[in-house]
Amino acid sequence: MSWAHVAALVVFVGAYVLIATERVHRVAAALGGAALMLALGLTDGPAAFYSADTGIDWNVIFLLFGMMVIVGVIRRTGLFEALAIHAAKRARGRPFLVLVLLVLITAVASALLDNVTTVLLVAPVTFLVCERLALPVVPYLIAEVMASNIGGAATLIGDPPNIIIGSRAGLSFNDFLVNVAPFCVVMTIVLIGLCRVLFRRAFVSDPTLVAEVMALSEREAIRDWRLLWQSLGVLALVLLGFVLHPVLHYEPSVVALLGAGLLVLISTVTVEDALADVEWETLVFFMGLFVMVGALVETGIIGGLSDWFGGVLGGNTEVTAVVLLLVSMVLSGVIDNIPYVATMAPVVAELARHQSPHGHVLWWALALGADLGGNATAVGASANVVVLGMAKRYGSPISFWHFTKYGVLVTLVSAALAVPYVLVRYF
């Protein structure tokens, strides 16, 4: 092992520990690590900024950026609040049906937008509906968080790890729809069934309170109808652009940027407002991660790790896929799945290259493991952290272990279904 290997590993592991323990801000840790890699000559400017394999993946950055702008405009319309209130009214205040509809709205919205925005918008309505129906809000919030993580796994744009996987593996929106979405549909139905059992005590309501929910007017939530139709029109065009990739050949990042630009152009939202919801910190975090992981590739550590994996698993694709799926689930439950997938993507790329024709299965195993593993603990995914923070602020705190006991169960069920899904479907 050369000094370059040792130095790259020390910098990378050090940054990872700082990110995981939150001793310093995750952006500072990722940028600091990237700067050290560059300063020590473990990677260089051309590789970090211009290489498609070992540098910042601009497809990922601009796809995230474009979708953040679109989502930022859509959230100003009040659409989610209106949908959730409409769902509660359609359920006529029946608690389990309210939960089912909120779970479905959250899962579908998370697949098309992003998980954190979705739960940020659905959770407040959940508080309102539960308060009106005198229901405990915690089971509903936990179910929504899990639906968000499951729904987000379904598409290329649903969860940041999928964006990394899609870009690194050259997988399209349609590939995710065909390979991951069907499992997520099944998993959402299973989640609803689990909620029926796990939260059975939360479904007792007072019929006299139903009028309180029926009195809510969802139309009042829509603050700008013109903006709503413009946003939905642009979102539909963007989704069409993703689906028509085989015909149009536009990269997902280009489609998202075109959509964001068009929406800002035709709507009355100012550029400042449109950019206000862009999570610049997240984008910079990604850049730092890509440079750090790129240095591991440049120094040959990733290649060595892939060879070691391949040797240990005997080059058997079935075994590799199952191990990757399960290990990803466990690790994503305890560490942020974004840096995990950013690190594993080049490893899986190497493994997949050596294990064709079934190599692509490894990407699906990584996606399912990393996305669904986020449900395992209270810190497994950003949506979990955000909702637990909201619950605390709003006076209904959910403890780490309270969430985790349900999270582990749902993750175990996910694993029990995902393993046969991968094996039966692809081998």
């Binding site: 319309t77 009040g78 407040p124 309505v125 309102l128 009106r132 007017s217 009042e220 939530a221």
Partner: protein, 149 residues
Amino acid sequence: MRAADLMEEYPSIDVTASALGAARTIGAEHRPAVVVLDGVRPVAVLPSSQVMALLVPPYLQEDPSLVHVYDEKAADALARRLSGKSVGDLLPEERRELPVVRPEATLMECAAVMARLHSPLLVVAGKDGAMQGAVVASTVLERLVARDP
């Protein structure tokens, strides 16, 4: 001109009184705040915004679309959020410096304390610490800018 000349009678409420009582006092007296007393000594100025923050659920405060949906008929539910709570529960955990002056404080001293503490209200307390009244910002401004420069 001294604080004793500028002060007026101002509504106050005991720290152990009900939170709903404080909200009603502020509403009935058409004042932006109420002075909170511990016995006869002023301990805090409770602004109406602080009462509002407890009255309106935080999930509504943070979601402009959702709060637009909230019908006024449900206002009874909001009032219930204050039941069982005392004025002391409405005060922030970290007590801020009380905007208080002696009756002999000058007009400029009053203005300086209000400016430093960003307070539209100044409690006037005697040597024994008991509240004698309060000076409101409008009175101070009226005196400060009475004449054209």
